[in-house]
């Protein structure tokens, strides 16, 4: 058995040098593809191998998985574009900007972070003042709140940066409607108006906007490094790597502006975490001056925590995640909640969730009957 970190390095090495794909043995592919799938990076690996022009030289067995992943990615991208068109049609009379976030922004903005990426939902943001109207317009067009109990609804309404997830009654697609990038209770003093103020109109889609390049990076960093959800951590880091490389090459003074922007949005710490991890795992080219400016303000904290994040950035596969990684993910989950809300809210919330998990365990017998249709 390979030692735990080696499968992740093998995957990242291949993604960095996709031209070497035809040299892998079937046994190596058999070990690598499940890890890539668990890391939600199979599509991106396939995209890289295809981009290197060596997909036809990959043996039949692994090639069918890479080709299948490319088909799945193409379908998801089609769906995201269609979904955004539906959302914009529903919100055409909103009278306020609709900012596309995360994957939707990457696809509609034709950014390299969209390459090989899969989607579970669509994220858009409208100003808080337009939130109620946006919800009404979306309801008229078929988006209704997903099934949730009174506590969940209250929790979202009172403490979160988005309304409870909306589901389209016919297509079953999920829409996350945000009014800011981070929970209002979070220990981050972010002014949503700054993000709206810097957003850029999306060419060809009236009413739709994309966050400014730096804000896209910062949102992704805050999501991964503050919120403590590490299910797709390596994929999220890879998104950031691609955004940083792309904007660093195409946006004038991108690296000069990024640390200042992070300071303005109170996101210097998550950005520092992101740059440390992206540099060490993905070789992201970060100019020394920008890194030094940022680290001078964040102090030693991000460096001290970086081994914990490194462990949590292991794909969720037993070949990668040992006990250390599980402990890191657990610690960061709690830290994420700590960052998200003050202790006087956090303790009752986690107690409630734990109690509900117990109740659900007791009811599992009846629900499991409905599991497989």
């Amino acid at each position: 058995m390979p030692s735990p970190p080696s499968m992740r390095s093998e995957l990242l090495r291949l993604m960095g040098d996709p031209g070497s794909a035809p040299a892998l043995t079937p046994a190596q592919w058999s070990r690598l593809l499940p890890v890539a799938r668990q890391a939600r990076l199979l599509g991106r690996l396939a995209h890289a191998v295809q981009g290197a022009g060596v997909l036809p030289a990959v043996p039949d067995g692994p090639r069918r998985h890479l080709t299948g992943a490319l088909r799945l990615v193409a379908a998801h991208h089609r769906d995201v574009r269609a979904e955004v068109a539906h959302i914009m049609e529903a919100l055409k009379d909103l009278g306020a900007p609709v900012v596309l976030l995360k994957g939707a922004a990457y696809v509609l903005g034709d950014l390299p972070a969209a390459d090989g990426r899969l989607f579970t939902d669509t994220d858009v943001m409208v100003p808080a003042a337009a939130l109620n109207r946006a919800e009404s317009l979306l309801a008229l067009a078929g988006w209704v709140p997903a099934k949730s109990d009174a506590y969940d609804t209250l929790y979202y309404r009172r403490w979160m940066h988005q309304v409870p997830p909306l589901v389209h009654f016919r297509r079953g697609t999920v829409l996350d409607l945000h009014h800011t990038l981070v929970p209002p209770t979070a220990r981050v003093a972010l002014e949503a108006s700054h993000v709206f103020g810097a957003a850029r109109p999306l060419p060809g889609v009236p009413g739709a906007w994309l966050p400014a390049p730096a804000d896209m990076v910062l949102h992704s960093a805050a999501h991964l490094f503050n919120e403590g959800m590490f299910n797709n951590a390596l994929r999220d880091l890879s998104d950031m790597d691609r955004l940083l490389r792309h904007f660093g090459a195409t946006e004038p003074e991108f690296w000069d502006n990024l640390p200042a922007r992070a300071r303005r949005l109170d996101m210097e710490t998550p950005l520092a975490h992101a740059l440390i991890a992206a540099r060490s795992l993905l070789g992201t080219p970060v100019p020394e001056a920008a890194a030094a400016r940022l680290m001078a303000r964040t102090g030693l904290g991000p460096r001290l925590l970086s081994p914990v994040f490194d462990a949590a950035l292991q794909p969720a596969h037993p070949a990668c995640r040992g006990r250390g990684a599980a402990a890191a993910v657990g610690f960061l989950y709690l830290r994420g909640h700590w960052m998200r809300m003050p202790l006087r809210h956090l303790v009752p919330h986690l107690t409630r969730k734990a109690w509900r998990a117990v109740l659900e365990g007791l009811h599992a017998d009846t629900t499991s009957q409905r599991a497989m249709r």
Partner: protein, 321 residues
Amino acid sequence: MTALSAPPRPPRAATEPAAPVIRLRDLPPCAVRAALGGDGLRLSLGPYTVNLRTRLPELVAMVERLYAAHPVAPADAFVDVEAEVRSAAGPRRWISPQVLFLRDSEVLFQPQPRAHAPAMMEWGLNWCLSVGIHDLMVLHAAVVARPDGRAAVMPAPPGSGKSTLCAGLVAAGWRLLSDELCLVSLHDGALIPCPRPLNLKNSSIDVIKARQPDAVLGPEVRDTSKGVVRHLAPPADSVTRAGEPARPAWVVFPTWAEDAPATMTPLGRADAFLRLVENCFNYHILGGAAFAALGTLTDAAEPCAFTYSDLDDAVAAFDAL
């Protein structure tokens, strides 16, 4: 513990004969059990290789019985699906134990009662092979072929008698390609066999037992979402010929109706196309490629609706196609 598999093949010249296929029944039962409980048993299921792991004794026995004729892939073969069925941990395993199905070490589906493990294993494998890969178009349909290679595709919702009809035709000499997943090549429209145990439900279990007293059956599973379920071993000949694709000649939509005479009714091609779309697992993912492949299929195969009650009459109607 190493994965149980045939020894790696040495490099050989193209003219040399292929290495002999090793089948599960060629292996001693203790070796099968050790592999399933260790690094896995590499089963060739049609075009795919599944590395299966389980320590549940009822599943080990079921694999030995129902997959006896299946080839065991060599150690250097590529593995398409890593699958495992295991007991759920936690204190409730002492009160009402549950089982989990894992692909690539990820738990799929809700835990199921331990008694449902055999059904869960087969349904889990169906899931992995139908929506997990996307290199082929996958229809929810049974496929059987005549000796001349012409095949009938039978798409149908559960409860329409598809599996019973499929089992009856197979017993009457039609070759089984699949009773659940019709795999269609996107290049030439050929039907790719993936013969696996047939999934019999409720009254069809007794119907088949009465007709085939020597049928090899898996354990009986009660109270599933589909009622009583039992799996029937596929004919060894169908498994041996899993490498031979078939040509679609008929698309038959079966319906079982009490006391109905066996009747084949021709169906419009456009109608058949739309009904096939409803039965395609990955139509929305393959997009244009699936549209083209279904077009090829409905052009090549004669579509009909089929109503029947008696299995002998049904087999006769198929033989007369």
